[in-house]
């Protein structure tokens, strides 16, 4: 199997370029090829690393050694020493005072990159998902046994809290806190619901967990049930995931037979069982209250909140709703302890994140890496670069409900807090990489079409707002819009964010605001000049206007 052993970043801000960064970059590439390391070492340009005297700078991972200033003639020595012999190239290191705040995070991640780290997908693809024995051999149900025989429910919640695990469905809410809310809520019965209604465009990570390691979700839900005091769980699987459902059904049957589900688990008085509920095709059912409505046999229309499901969920009882990826993190945390988990990822976003890499890159697919990797690194290492050598224009994160990331944010670490500070969001982990031939109006139109189709229609701002926003974008792409229409578009975005009943309407505003914030000139060209700069939009209204 091909594995990336080292990542070499070359600074490419204006100062670096003036001081020969391009030549350093090319020499590095040639030298890496000449020494036969091209399959193990990735060389890529990185944006602004801050102002200092050590430019151009070369940063080598996973050791996070910073060299600078590097001259083209230094390259053979650097490659020979660091990449071939594995030791620091003497005399080339930048002095530590050169490390400005801007690149401090780069060295803070020392040793964590560029390797993949699998926790959620540790077993997927390695074990036979249809045989419980395979799961048992690979630490299966060990965490459940440990929790039931050695820990109190409060201790389980404590461990999850201390791990710093945050919800992987997109919102990043602290998982331990949510568990505590449900544990403390008063109710006759409590429920654990696994949200497997994975429908964010570009996202299929949960499917791979369900298909490749179904027992991990059963174990995690049972652990959660023990922690919060629930005896019943539901897995809500999207209707299109037939294989996932088959495997889950089989796994639940095996777990019941072996005594991991049912009455008196591990000779305690704790009972737990799980039902599968199949969705019937509705994106909105990924919203937790819509999902609960759907289990109850109704239209999947989100409820008004508060009250939240933690106190008033399924059948009006306290209910814990967790995403598949979130749950898959729980058994390893209980097995290895919160301190172990804290060592992976960043301080405020511990652990790994599963990303799907899609769009105009050479290799599409799925990776699990520690939190804090950057988009540029993902594209360079795992996407194997942009397709046909095209330039990167933007990436769209998290399915339809993420953000549009312009090139200027390519070097922002992808963790909950760094992204929040930059005003963007991680979403569900889909990374749709788009090249220079992508038109932002066309892209926004496709995204708004998605929201308009998937809006459940319950509240007016979303039902009408997404429809009207789509119409305006369509007019922009046809060359029939006026500048004032953009004002309407922005006020629609405000209405969507301010008055929609749930996250669907609220996030429908994101692509509108993002393209007008980052790509205003390109949008304006469609209106003022009646030209689509990338030549993608039909502009069929243009002739009519001219006539």
């Amino acid at each position: 199997m091909e594995t990336t052993r080292a990542l070499v970043l070359v600074s490419s801000d204006r100062d670096s370029m003036e001081r020969g960064a391009q030549e350093v970059f090319e020499r590095l590439q040639n030298q890496v090829r000449a020494t036969g390391l091209q399959d193990e070492v990735v060389v890529t340009m990185v944006g602004d690393v801050g102002r200092h005297d050590a430019l151009p700078m070369v940063i080598v991972y996973p050791e996070a050694v910073i060299y600078g200033p590097v001259r083209p003639d230094d390259v053979p020595f650097l490659v020979e020493e660091h990449l071939l012999k594995g030791r620091i190239a003497a005399g080339l290191q930048a002095s530590t005072r050169e490390l400005s705040g801007r690149i401090a995070w780069l060295s803070a991640r020392q040793g964590t990159l560029p390797a993949e780290r699998r926790i959620v997908l540790a077993r997927a693809g390695l074990i036979d998902p249809e045989e419980i024995e395979d799961y048992l051999i690979h630490d299966g149900y060990e965490a459940l046994g440990k929790a039931l025989t050695q820990m109190t429910p409060a201790q389980v919640i404590d461990e999850v809290s201390k791990s710093g695990l945050r919800g992987r469905g997109g919102a990043g809410f602290p998982t331990g806190t949510k568990w505590r809310f449900v544990a403390q809520a008063k109710g006759d019965r409590k429920y654990v619901v696994c949200n497997a209604d994975e429908s964010e465009p570009g996202t299929f990570k949960d499917r791979l967990v369900l298909e490749g390691d179904p027992h991990s979700i059963i174990e995690a839900m049972t652990l959660a049930g023990y922690a919060i005091g629930a005896n019943e769980g539901y897995i809500y699987v999207r209707g299109e995931y037939g294989l996932a459902m088959e495997r889950l059904e089989r796994a639940i049957g095996q777990a019941r037979q072996m005594g991991f589900l049912g009455r008196g688990l591990f000779d305690t008085d704790f009972d737990f069982d799980i039902h599968i509920h199949a969705g019937a095709g509705a994106y909105i059912c990924g919203e937790e209250t819509a999902l609960i409505e759907s289990i109850e046999g109704k239209r999947g229309e989100p409820r008004s909140r508060p009250p939240y499901p933690t106190t008033h969920g399924l059948w009006g009882q306290p209910t814990l709703v967790n995403n598949v990826e979130t749950l898959a993190n729980v058994p390893p945390i209980i097995r290895n302890g919160a301190a172990w988990y804290r060592k992976i990822g960043t301080k405020n976003s511990p652990g790994t994140k599963v990303y799907t890499i899609l769009g105009n890159v050479n290799v599409t697919g799925l990776i699990e890496v520690p939190m804090g990797i950057t988009l540029r690194e993902v594209i360079a290492i795992y996407g194997k670069g942009m397709k046909n050598g095209a330039a990167f224009k933007l990436a769209q994160t998290g399915g339809s409900s993420g953000s549009i990331i312009p090139a200027s944010l390519q070097d922002t670490p992808m963790d909950f807090d760094s992204f929040a500070r930059a005003g963007v969001s991680l979403g569900s982990g889909a990374l749709l990489v788009c090249d220079e031939d992508t038109c932002v109006v066309d892209l926004a139109k496709v995204l708004l079409n998605f929201f308009r189709v998937e809006s459940c229609g319950k509240c007016v701002p979303c039902r009408i707002g997404t429809q009207r926003a789509y119409q305006i974008l369509d007019a922009v792409s046809e060359g029939t819009a006026e500048m004032d229409d953009l004002k309407d578009l922005l006020s629609l975005a405000d209405a969507l964010v301010g008055y929609s009943n749930c996250g669907l309407g609220q996030t429908a505003a994101v692509p509108i605001r993002d393209i007008l914030k980052h790509f205003r000139a390109e949008v304006d060209a469609h209106i003022a000049l009646r030209v689509c700069p990338t030549g993608v939009c039909p502009m069929s209204g243009r002739q009519v206007m001219a006539a």
Binding site: G202, A282, V446
Partner: protein
Amino acid sequence: MSKSAQNGKDVHTVVQQAVSRHGATPDGLIPILSEVNHALGYLPAEALNEIGRQVRIPSSRVLSVASFYRMLSTKPRGRHVVQFCENAPCHVVGGREVWRALKEQLGLGPGETSADGRWTLLTTSCLGLCAVGPVVVIDGDIYGNVDAAKLPEILARYA
């Protein structure tokens, strides 16, 4: 009691089987609708009424639920249902061209069924097959990395 047949199957019997499998309770409604939809090809008014009667839910609510979900249909569909993913991941890797060609070759717009009852063309939201986009699904058969040139050969497999 209803005795008429759909797709050669007795509506009453199909509903009864589904109800006995999933239970005459509110949370059984969506699984029942899915199973009846699968057996009959769609959900005729007669089936909705029969489900309402057997599960003891007003048929108006049964219809309200049935019309909400994409995988349930209250209208008859063609022998072959072609679904095209219209979301961004498929769109940016050539989906736009495939969609244009698909409409042209079938002579249908989204949601339409051909006069001879052979085809129904539907758009769908993401199916989670994005690594192999653009994606077209015909009667549950998945085709990935589709381009316009491959379409005639794919469509010819469905008589």
